[in-house]
Structures are given as structure tokens and as C-alpha cells.
């Protein structure tokens, strides 16, 4: 039973917990305010329950997920049982027996889980580096002292044999090793108790704070489609996040929600291909600096740490390696949004410092500013592919039903992408769709500029494009570039656009269902499908292209190991298309190797960027004739003829 002293200790531990968390809370609140819609409370709560109690996302990684599940339930339930036990002294023996058995099993599971976690932590060498594993060692000690106490108790009490075995088999086994010493029992119980208090009080001071911060982060998650980049007001002299105080409080909350599990690393194409970026270290480092600034100054006058610098986790090449593929976000169990942090710092580098970005980007920015496309060709070239085609230009026929947004890649890049555009037009014509193109009035959609950190350029382009589109009263847009698709659909509404945006595959699916388009001959060949990030993870378009391919191909698709949500980026996103990469392997090479490994004759994709990247990788391997990289549109064009 609890003595007054024990209660004091419990109160002390809880006070330490609360004060510690409040301190963290003050750290977060240093960030800029970010309005969160407090609506949808039930949906949010439901998501939290699913994620926290049900381990929905945690279990996606089997090893870590199971270990976490064991520890979570092996800690929470016994704790609750023991707490309840303190209030109810008389318990029905049958219940007590079941309770004891449950405690034993859960304790064993928790022990297994802790062991698994410790093994992994020590193997990664993480215990020595940035995070200590004290929370895991404490857990281990709690569990061991618990079992030892149980064993000693059983030795002393010596109840009848089968009852012991059934109610607490582990304790029973241990009891053979323990002396019948009441002193030892007392010692074990006390140390068990103290360790639990130590663990609870220490929660805010180790990565275990993720239990609270992570839950908060889950509750305050954004319910809109993923990957939307926050609007930046272009006022003042400093833009983006160059100092700790520039981050939103949500971004700072991320750093405490992260428990350094490393899933983001395992799904980060930049990390896997050996480039100097680890989303985990970005978040951890940010958290470290957040705490550092707090330690050296009183609350109001923080010494601010300049974040974007030449070296370290944020400087040099690191933040530019991110392809904004959302692989990390998709795999993160507490929904940390690493690209938000990275794009914020890129904005600072491009807009405020204006020097600390790859020099290749300078040319891209200037080209886009002067010529309106990333390639620096000029707006009239945007119609060149349509010279001999009977395609309506919207400035001549403003009454068309649908706008076909061609985009920089489709209109300008090279012979093949331009041919693809022609094929797309042929398909639309065949289906009798009343469509037009903007031609020379089209500008770059600005996706790359935004993700390279040049928010100014993006907003200029977005305003210009929206103005043009509104001028011709465009309602429906179809595009075959997933990047344009995403920006039009999800990011242009920040500037007052409300168009109905379809990806080409979606439109074709509708046309096929309506019977306006008929597949004449199914195509031969065994293919695999590469999910473009901006279709899949950004917009959840996994099923549509697959349905379409089912209808197009005779044989079934063969999926790669990285597919759907776990798709591996081709390496073009986030401005990396223009960046000269010198460190590590190329992402597209890794991806094409994976595709070749499926023993197929080709890989299908639905994004011009992916196609260019993968094609170059295949050619570099000397497989330009033996392994095909095809766009879904090229297949369709063959099939409907």
C-alpha cells in the first residue's frame, strides 16, 4: 500500500513531467503562430485513437511496429492495473488470477519489445551518437525488477503449485532462482516503483516525449491532401526559415514528436542513394538547436541560431537533395512533415540569403522570369509542336469545354515529350473531347520554382496563369504532368483559383467508362508501373492508372517492391531535375535497377519527368533497346488506333 511519502513521490514525478512538458511547450510556442482549424474534432480524435491505440501506422514497419506495440500495451495496461489495484484492496481471486496472468504475459511481451528496440538501437550505434537510450534501459530495469519482485513474492508466499503456474508462469519460474528474502522483495518492489516514477518524470527529457508531442501532432494533423506548401506572404526583408523563431510552432512540435525511429531514412530516396540528406537528422538537429537556444538565454531574448549555413545538417548540398517525394511523410508514424521544414529553409536560402543555393538554379530562375519556362526557350516555342496540327488555341476559340495544359516538359523539352503531347491530342480528338490549348499564353506552372524555394517566382507565375485562365473563363483543366496537376488542384486555390483539374489518366478512365473511347487492341508485353510521387502520395491516384493499364494490357502488371505508397522517387522532384548531383548514386539508376529486377520488358509511368529520368538511367545502363520506359499515353495511343 502507498504511504504518504510515496504519494509525495508520485506528485513530484508528475510535477516534473508537467513542468518538463510545459518547458517544451514554451519552446514550441516560440515558433510563429499557425492557425489550425479546430473543426472536425471527431475525425481528428478518431485518427488519434487509430494511430495511438491501434498502432495503424506504427505497424507498417513490422520489426519496430511490433516492438512498439508490445512495449506500449505492456506498459500501459500493467500501469493501469496496478493503479486500480491501489484503490481496490479486495479482489475476487478468480479475477486476480486472470489479472496476474495478463500482467505476466504483457510483461513478457514488453520485455521482448524492449529487447528488440535496444538491439536495434545498439546495432545502429545510435546509443552512442545523438540519442541516448536511457529510456529503454529504464524500461528494461522496470520490467526486470518487476519480474524479480514477483518471483521473490511467490517464493515467500508459497501458494499451491498449479495455481502459481497458471496465474504467473514467469514469476513461478523465477521463484526457483530467488531466495525467500522479504528484504529482497521489499528492495525489488521499491526499485520497481522508483524506476517507474523516474521513467514518467523523465518523459519530457528523452525522445520518450514523443508519447505526448506525437499524440498532439497526430491530433493537429492537416486533413487536406498531403504535401501542400504553405503560402508565404511576400512582405518585409526576411523570408522562409533561417532561424529557429521563423518556424511555425507546428514545425517545432515536429522535432519533439520525432523519436528518431529512422523510417523516414529508410524511405528517403536521397538517403538511400547516398546523398548527404537524412530527414531524420534534419528534424533531430532542428530540435537540438531549438533546445540550445533556450538553454543559453532567458525566455524573451533568445539568441537566435542561424540555420541555413554552409555546413552541418542544413547547409551545403543537404537540403537541396530532397526531391519532395513525401516518402518520409508517408512513412512517419507521427506525421512529421519533413518537406515543410526543408522547403522553409530553401526559401530562406533563395529569397533572403540569395546565395546559398545551387548555382544551376540561378539560370533556371532567370529563365523562368524572362522567358516563362524553366528551359529558357520562350513562349512562342510552346506552340511549335502543334504547328501542323488542328488544335484549337484558346485565344482564338475561348468557348472550348476543356483546357489541355501542356506544360514546359510537354511543349518544350525534347522530341519525345513533344511527340507525347501530339499523341495526347490525338487521343482527345478521337474521344471527341472539345479541348483547346493556351499555346503561347501558357507559362510555367511554378511547381519546381516553389519547391526550390523561390516562392516569389511561383506566386508571380500563379497569378499570371490564373489571370490568363480566368480571362478565357476556363473551368476544366486536364494535364498529363502530375506536377502541374498537383499545383493546379491543390496549391493554386491559395490564390483564388477554383478549376476542376483532372489528370490525363483520370480523364481517359472516364472516357473509357462512358464508351467514348474504345480500346481496339490490347497490348502485349509484361510491364511494371512506376508511381509518380505527385500522383500517388500527393493525390492518392494509385488505382486509376492501374485500372487503365488493366484495360490496356493483356498481361497483368508486375509490381515493384517499392510501389504505391512506398514508391521510390525517380529523382526529379523538388528542383533536382536541374541540379548537378555529384555525390552518391543516382536515384533514377536505383529505380530502373529495381524495375529491371522484376523481369519485365519495360516500365510504365505517367509523368514526363519520371519518363525522362528513367529513360536516361536505362540508356546509361546500355539498355535503351532491351528495356523500355514508356508513358501511359504512348501505350494508349497504340491501343486505340
Amino acid at each position: 500500500m502507498l504511504s504518504g511519502f510515496d504519494i509525495l513521490l508520485i506528485i513530484a514525478a508528475l510535477t516534473v513531467l508537467i513542468c518538463g512538458m510545459l518547458k517544451r511547450y514554451r519552446l514550441w510556442r516560440r515558433g510563429k503562430p499557425q492557425s489550425l482549424d479546430g473543426n472536425n474534432k471527431t475525425i481528428r480524435l478518431g485518427k488519434v485513437i487509430k494511430s495511438v491505440l491501434g498502432h495503424q501506422k506504427v505497424l507498417e514497419d513490422i520489426y519496430g511496429g511490433i516492438a512498439h506495440l508490445f512495449i506500449f500495451w505492456g506498459f500501459i495496461v500493467p500501469l493501469l492495473l496496478v493503479v486500480i489495484g491501489q484503490f481496490r484492496t479486495v479482489v475476487d481471486p478468480a479475477w486476480a488470477q486472470w489479472g496476474s496472468l495478463l500482467l505476466d504475459i504483457l510483461g513478457m511481451l514488453a520485455l521482448t519489445g524492449t529487447g528488440m528496440m535496444l538491439y536495434k538501437g545498439l546495432k545502429d550505434g545510435r546509443g552512442k551518437k545523438e540519442d541516448h537510450l536511457i529510456h529503454l534501459w529504464t524500461l528494461l530495469a522496470i520490467l526486470i525488477t518487476g519480474f524479480l519482485a514477483e518471483g521473490t513474492r511467490l517464493k515467500i508466499v508459497e501458494t499451491n503449485f498449479p495455481y502459481n503456474l497458471l496465474s504467473s508462469p514467469v514469476g513461478f519460474a523465477i521463484s526457483y532462482l530467488m531466495p525467500a528474502s522479504p528484504l529482497l522483495l521489499k528492495l525489488m518492489i521499491r526499485s520497481h516503483f522508483f524506476l517507474v516514477l523516474f521513467f514518467i518524470g523523465g518523459l519530457p527529457f528523452t525522445v520518450m516525449r514523443h508519447a505526448i508531442a506525437g499524440t498532439m501532432n497526430l491530433y493537429y494533423q492537416e486533413l487536406e491532401p498531403q504535401g501542400i506548401i504553405e503560402h508565404l506572404a511576400l512582405e518585409g526583408e526576411r523570408f522562409g526559415t533561417g532561424k529557429i523563431d521563423d518556424f511555425t510552432w507546428k514545425n517545432l512540435l515536429f522535432t519533439d514528436a520525432c523519436m528518431s525511429c529512422g523510417r523516414c531514412e529508410r524511405s528517403c530516396p536521397a538517403f538511400i542513394s547516398g546523398q548527404p540528406l537524412s530527414p531524420r537528422i534534419v528534424v533531430r538537429e532542428l530540435g537540438k538547436r531549438m533546445a540550445e537556444t533556450h538553454a543559453i538565454a532567458p525566455l524573451d531574448i533568445y539568441e537566435q541560431i542561424r540555420l541555413v549555413n554552409e555546413d552541418g545538417a542544413f547547409g551545403g548540398e543537404n537540403i537541396w537533395c530532397c526531391t519532395t517525394c513525401l516518402g518520409c511523410v508517408e512513412s512517419c508514424p507521427v506525421l512529421v512533415k519533413h518537406p515543410d521544414i526543408i522547403v522553409g529553409m530553401r526559401r530562406h536560402a533563395v529569397l533572403t540569403e540569395a546565395t546559398l543555393f545551387p548555382s544551376e538554379y540561378k539560370k533556371v530562375f532567370k529563365n523562368t522570369e524572362i522567358f516563362g519556362d524553366t528551359l529558357g526557350k520562350g513562349s512562342l516555342f510552346r506552340e511549335d509542336w502543334a504547328l501542323n496540327l488542328n488544335v484549337k488555341r484558346i485565344y482564338n476559340d475561348p468557348k472550348v469545354e476543356m483546357l489541355f495544359w501542356v506544360g514546359c516538359m510537354g511543349a518544350l523539352y525534347d522530341e519525345r515529350t513533344r511527340n507525347k503531347t501530339v499523341k495526347a491530342c490525338r487521343i482527345l480528338e478521337k474521344a471527341g473531347v472539345d479541348f483547346g490549348i493556351l499555346g503561347k499564353e501558357e507559362r510555367c506552372c511554378g511547381d519546381s520554382a516553389r519547391r526550390m524555394g523561390n516562392e516569389y517566382l511561383f506566386q508571380e507565375l500563379a497569378r499570371q496563369n490564373i489571370q490568363t485562365l480566368k480571362k478565357y473563363n476556363v473551368k476544366k483543366i486536364v494535364t498529363f504532368c502530375p506536377h502541374g496537376f498537383h499545383v493546379f488542384k491543390n496549391e493554386y486555390p491559395q490564390f483564388g483559383a477554383d478549376f476542376e483539374v483532372l489528370h490525363f489518366t483520370q480523364l481517359i478512365k472516364i472516357l473509357l467508362d462512358e464508351g467514348k473511347l474504345k480500346i481496339q487492341s490490347k497490348l502485349d508485353g509484361l510491364f511494371t508501373y512506376h508511381d509518380p510521387c505527385y500522383m500517388g502520395r500527393y493525390n492518392n491516384l494509385y488505382k486509376t492508372p492501374r485500372d487503365l493499364l488493366d484495360a490496356l494490357l493483356i498481361s497483368d502488371l508486375k509490381e515493384m517492391a517499392h510501389s504505391k505508397k512506398g514508391s521510390f522517387c525517380c529523382g526529379a522532384g523538388g528542383g533536382n531535375f536541374w541540379r548537378v548531383r555529384v555525390v552518391g548514386r543516382r536515384m533514377e539508376t536505383l529505380r530502373i535497377e529495381e524495375a529491371i529486377g522484376t523481369n519485365t520488358s519495360g516500365v510504365i509511368t505517367a509523368c514526363p519527368f519520371c519518363e525522362i529520368m528513367l529513360e536516361s538511367a536505362a540508356n546509361q545502363k546500355g539498355m535503351e533497346y532491351s528495356y523500355k520506359v514508356v508513358d501511359i499515353m504512348e501505350l494508349l495511343d497504340q491501343a486505340i488506333r
Partner: protein, 285 residues
């Protein structure tokens, strides 16, 4: 140190056959207006001088009608402190130089910077003419510049072609015209861009300086426009085994057949790697 930079808004023809149906003028749709790239290099040099000596004023001067204010604001974003537009239109290098020299004469300056030429007229005369009119020493096509403001002198590195350089020492004030390779112009920070929008811009009205001309014939006259002789066709051969960024670069510079100087930036390791890549691409090694 006071620096005056003369800049020009050029009309760059980006689409073939830019002469319109009348045959008298260029089709505005096929032009883009931009800051002359060599002037941008000159501006960057001025900005670097400012960073180096601190107490420094940069004046950007341009000649033209109100649309050319755009480049002045860009110049401000790059680091200029004052923006002056001379409200005068001229297509003749001598006339332009006269007007510019007339305005600059009244200013205080230590260094005058110009681009080596404008990419639309390709004359490359204005810098030299201004130096002549103001009786200044002139070093053209510089790829390096060292200043000694206390001793009132400067050492400039001139580009002579084929890798040859000439070191020239001259007294200040002096005029320098910038060659590609002098520096790599910066991308202006957004804060200064927004400031430039609000900044006051000085406009100077100019009359035609008749005193300098005996008759109209002294000026270059616009006679007619003619389409260019068709060039030997340079096709871009996309070597698809190259990475996307390499191919992009090739598209942007117009294929590998074109010889163009390029400034490499970054760590020594990266630069050497790029050099080897280029040499391999050109089949030299």
C-alpha cells in the same frame, strides 16, 4: 568609392525570323526585354566592390523610356543605391554616349562600369565613347579587377582571347567594360526586390544635344531589316545517356557544338569533376 554603372534594357530575339510581315520592324511577340547580361556582370562587380569597401555608393544609369525602369529596379535589387533613368531614346552609340557622358559628368565617381556590349546591337562602342568624352582611362573586356582606392589606382585583367590575359594598371577614376567571366551575377534577394518597387527613381529629361552634330547624317540611320542568312543547321543531339540536368544544360546553351565559356562554381572537387565531364563530352580525353 563611388561607382556608376551604365545599363541597358535589351530586346532579345528568342524566336527565329523575328521580322514582322511589314518587313520594317521586329515582331514584339518574338522579343523578350531583359537586362543586358554584360551589364548584369558590371552590376555584380559594383555590388562586390560595395561589399568589399563598405562605404560605397552605386548609381545605376539607363537611357530609355519608362519600360526600362524595370531593369533599374532589378539593378537596385542587385545592390545599386540610386536609380537614374534618362528619358531619351537613342539607337546610335555616339548619341547614347553623349547623353550618358553629359549626365555622368556632373556626378562624383571613382569607377565607371559598363558591359562590354549590348546583346541586341552588338556594337560594343558606348563604353569607349563615354571614356573618350569624359577623358578617362578605359580598360575594355576585363575579367578581373583589383582596386586600390587610397592610391587612386586599379589593376585590371583584360581578356585577349584564347586564354591570354593582359594586366593593366590605371589611375582612378576610370572606365571598365565587363566581359563574361568577371564574376557570376547573383540572384537578387527578394527583400531588396520589394524595396526596389517602392524606391524613388530619378528621371532626367534630355534634349537632343544638337550642338554636337553638324547634321543628321552623323548618326547611324536605320535603313531596313532583313532576315538572317540561314545558318548551317545545328541540330541538338540529345544523348539520352546523359543525366537530365546535363541535357537541360545542353538545351539551354543550344547543343554541344556551340562553344561557350562557362563559369564553374563550388568546391574544388566538384569543379574538377565537372571539368573532366566536359572534356569527356568534347571527346578530348
Amino acid at each position: 568609392v563611388r561607382v556608376v554603372v551604365c545599363i541597358k534594357q535589351v530586346s532579345h530575339i528568342y524566336y527565329p525570323l523575328a521580322i514582322d510581315v511589314s518587313g520594317k520592324q521586329l515582331d514584339p511577340e518574338k522579343l523578350v526585354f531583359m537586362l543586358n547580361p554584360y551589364d548584369e556582370i558590371a552590376l555584380e562587380q559594383a555590388a562586390r566592390i560595395k561589399e568589399c569597401y563598405g562605404n560605397c555608393e552605386i548609381v545605376a544609369v539607363t537611357l530609355g523610356l519608362s519600360p526600362s525602369e524595370e531593369i533599374l529596379r532589378y539593378a537596385f535589387a542587385m545592390g545599386a543605391d540610386r536609380m537614374i533613368r534618362i528619358d531619351f531614346e537613342s539607337t546610335d552609340a555616339w548619341l547614347t554616349s553623349l547623353v550618358l557622358a553629359h549626365v555622368i559628368k556632373d556626378m562624383e565617381y571613382d569607377i565607371l562600369l559598363c558591359g562590354k556590349k549590348a546583346i541586341d546591337s552588338n556594337a560594343g562602342q558606348v563604353g569607349s565613347f563615354i571614356a573618350e568624352l569624359l577623358q578617362l582611362p578605359q580598360v575594355s573586356r576585363i575579367v578581373g579587377l583589383k582596386l586600390f582606392p587610397e592610391e587612386k589606382k586599379a589593376i585590371a585583367e583584360r581578356y585577349l582571347g584564347k586564354g591570354d590575359r593582359q594586366l593593366v594598371e590605371c589611375s582612378l577614376p576610370a572606365l571598365f567594360t565587363a566581359e563574361e567571366g568577371l564574376n557570376d551575377p547573383r540572384y537578387p534577394p527578394l527583400g531588396r526586390r520589394l524595396m526596389a518597387e517602392k524606391e524613388n527613381l530619378e528621371v532626367i529629361k534630355m534634349e537632343f544635344p544638337e550642338a554636337h552634330f553638324d547634321n543628321e547624317m552623323d548618326l547611324t540611320n536605320f535603313m531596313s531589316l532583313s532576315p538572317p542568312r540561314p545558318k548551317p543547321k545545328k541540330t541538338f543531339a540529345p544523348d539520352s545517356s546523359l543525366s537530365a540536368s546535363e541535357r537541360m544544360k545542353m538545351i539551354m546553351v543550344g547543343g554541344i557544338t556551340e562553344k561557350k565559356s562557362e563559369l564553374l562554381e563550388g568546391k574544388a572537387e566538384d569543379i574538377s569533376r565537372r571539368i573532366v565531364e566536359v572534356l569527356e563530352l568534347e571527346k578530348i580525353i
